[in-house]
């Protein structure tokens, strides 16, 4: 009834969109984890970022100011997280849950106080790229999205480059693996971790913004609905590599859009089973591709010189 091309293009372009917020958040989390800090507060940071971006875009009409707002609040949340985990050496698993709850509550509170009801904004429009967007199928799948979608995918090679080709990346990797060694060579563990956690906060904020002013163009309480936790899981899936994270985000989103299509196409399968599919398949793929990569050795361990 429906042409296969239509379905394939639909599934794939939907995959690209769904993957966008995961990519921002998970790449940010990758920076944090690579430096040894587990941030479980991603979802909260996303929500605050989503609200800030939405509110500023809504009141000023300027989407870029909205993005800036998400960057700023994300950075502030990251700063707080960095202070708590670097200076106060708090158990990262718990403080992250604390930040999640804070972000969840605070974003809704601000929403209630400042907006009161669900509103919409005109988000970033789809950005056609000369030539590329016109390629049959490919153009439709990859190059008919808004700028924040492109940004998310661009982030992947950038992150790869930073990790592998820059002195900063070298510092991040060593701080996450053996902070004592890095410290003994004069690398400031604290400064590196502040940087990565704040960056992770910023990217989580932008992940939220990508939802509230680019993809969904609304703000609603708890609109991320645990997406930030999946993003953290994707970092494990991607074995702390930028392209691994990309693969995870694409796989998860692909199966998710596939299940939406399965329902639309009336494929006789219980809706719950369909909804479960992305979660099951993520695990199955990981089982089949047994990876021997260990987490960064210093992950979740606060650094203390011992004096």
């Amino acid at each position: 009834m429906m042409s296969p091309e239509l379905i394939i293009v639909g599934v794939l372009s939907s995959t690209i969109r769904l993957a966008t917020p995961y990519l921002y958040a998970a790449i940010g989390e990758t920076f944090g984890q690579r430096s040894g800090v587990l941030n479980l507060g991603v979802d909260g940071q996303m929500l605050i970022g989503a609200f800030a971006a939405f509110y500023i875009a809504f009141t000023t009409g300027n989407l870029w100011l909205g993005v800036l707002a998400a960057v700023i609040v994300g950075a502030l949340m990251g700063l707080a997280m960095a202070f708590v985990s670097v200076n106060l050496q708090a158990e990262q698993g718990i403080s992250g849950i604390g930040f999640y709850l804070f972000g969840l509550g605070m974003s809704e509170l601000l929403f209630k106080m400042l907006l009161g009801t669900v509103e919409t904004v005109k988000g970033f429009p789809d950005l056609e790229i000369p030539f590329l967007s016109d390629i049959p199928y490919i153009g439709e799948i990859f190059f008919q999205h808004n700028i924040m979608v492109y940004g998310a995918f661009l982030l992947v090679p950038i992150a790869w480059f930073i990790f592998n080709k820059t002195t900063l990346g070298l510092k991040i990797r060593s701080v996450g693996e053996n902070p004592e060694a890095a410290d003994s060579l004069g690398v400031s563990v604290a400064r590196v971790r502040y940087f990565t956690i704040i960056l992770a906060g910023i990217l989580s904020g932008v992940a939220g913004a990508s939802m509230s002013i680019a993809l969904l163009n609304v703000f609603q309480q708890n609109m991320t609905s645990g997406l930030g936790f999946i993003a953290v899981a994707l970092v494990y899936f991607g074995a702390w590599r930028a392209f691994g994270v990309l693969a995870g985000a694409l796989l998860f989103s692909f199966v998710n859009s596939l299940q939406l299509w399965m329902q639309v196409l009336n494929i006789p399968i219980s809706t719950e089973l369909a909804i479960m599919l992305p979660y099951i398949l993520t695990i199955v793929v990981l089982v089949l591709t047994v990876s021997k990569v260990r987490p960064p050795s210093a992950l979740t361990k606060p650094f203390d010189r011992g004096d």
């Binding site: 429906m2 239509l6 379905i7 293009v9 639909g10 372009s13 939907s14 969109r17 769904l18 917020p21 809704e108 209630k112 009161g116 009801t117 669900v118 509103e119 919409t120 988000g123 939802m211 993809l215 969904l216 163009n217 609304v218 609603q220 309480q221 708890n222 609109m223 991320t224 609905s225 997406l227 998710n256 859009s257 939406l260 299509w261 329902q263 639309v264 196409l265 009336n266 809706t271 719950e272 909804i275």
Partner: protein, 321 residues
């Protein structure tokens, strides 16, 4: 049901000093543009009717998705002497059943269900529900008439309760209007996943739908997708016109005042429960709210009105099994 409501404040006039106190416990937020907001809006309307904050006090506990917490809230409000404690969610039934007998002088209301626990010997629980399939049917009729592609998309949370009723009504209405119409339904398995709801809408659009509808609070994202793609939208529970004034055609709006007015009257008379209310098109509890900014063709409006008539007079029977 307008008349009794107007009498209520008059009857209670001598007792103005003792203002009427209502507490409501809701699973979502008072601003969800959906189920919870529909109740809160109704209470505000009644408060105004009764003479403002001096005459009626409204307190609420929102976001009570944890049944346990709701039970504590219900008991607490009852202990503090609220006249009417509304448990606005079908999941709160067990709690009510347990708490209500301890407070025989307090009236409780439970939605959305028709069970007042009278079989269990409880006399102080009212029940209410919405025949959401009715508005769904009307929405379906209009949707099928306006769809040029003959493909309509539906986004729902989980296939149960109010959502499931609405969708059944919608599909019935659409198919009755155009037997060749395709209605694709997507259940996303969550009341909060705005992103997935919106991607479901995108999927519908990609699959050729030119009319969309959806139910529950997470559909706000789907409305945005509809607007972006210039696709029509039909709302339910509360009015969603403000979200996308260009493409929202009509909303089924719950007006719980119909049921609430009667409950308040009965409470004034010393009856604390035992009655179940269903809001319907017939009793005015379900209201078809048309977006005045959308230019609905005459014939379509006529078909909708005919559907409303038919449902009210019983000539249209909506299959919900």
């Amino acid at each position: 049901g307008g008349a009794p409501a107007e009498e209520a404040p008059a009857e209670e006039a001598p007792a103005t000093a003792e203002m009427f106190k209502v507490a409501v416990i809701m699973p979502s937020s008072i601003t969800d543009l959906a189920f919870s907001q529909s109740m809160y809006d109704a209470l505000l309307a009644i408060q105004e009717e009764m003479g403002g904050e001096e005459a009626m006090e409204i307190v609420y506990s929102e976001g009570m998705f944890v049944v346990d917490d709701a039970a504590a809230a219900i008991r607490d409000y009852a202990t503090e002497g609220y006249d009417l404690v509304i448990a606005h969610g079908s999941q709160y039934g067990s709690s009510l059943q347990e708490i209500a007998p301890d407070f025989p002088e307090t009236s409780f209301a439970w939605g959305t269900t028709l069970n007042t626990f009278s079989e269990e010997g409880i006399t102080n629980v009212f029940a209410y529900e919405a025949d959401s399939q009715e508005g769904g049917y009307v929405n379906g009729v209009i949707a099928a008439s306006l769809s040029e592609a003959g493909v309509i998309g539906v986004v729902g949370p989980i296939e149960a309760g109010d959502a499931s009723l609405y969708v059944k009504g919608f599909v019935a209405g659409a198919e009755a209007t155009n037997p060749d119409v395709t209605v694709n339904v997507n259940w996303i398995g969550s009341f909060s996943d705005v992103a997935l709801a919106s991607e479901a809408a995108n999927t519908h659009v990609a699959a050729g739908a030119d009319v969309l509808t959806g139910t529950a609070q997470m559909v706000v994202g789907a409305v945005g997708v509809a607007e972006e793609n210039g696709v029509l939208w039909f709302g339910t529970q509360s009015s969603q016109t403000s979200l996308a004034p260009d493409i929202v055609v009509a909303n089924q709006v719950y007006d719980w005042t119909v049921a609430l007015d009667e409950m308040i009257t009965l409470i004034g008379e010393g009856t604390y429960g035992g009655t179940a209310y269903t809001i319907t098109l017939e009793n005015g509890g379900i209201v078809m709210d048309y977006n005045s900014a959308y230019d609905l063709p005459e014939d379509v409006k006529a078909a909708a009105d005919a559907a409303v008539e038919g449902i009210i007079d019983g000539s249209i029977v909506i299959p919900v099994e």
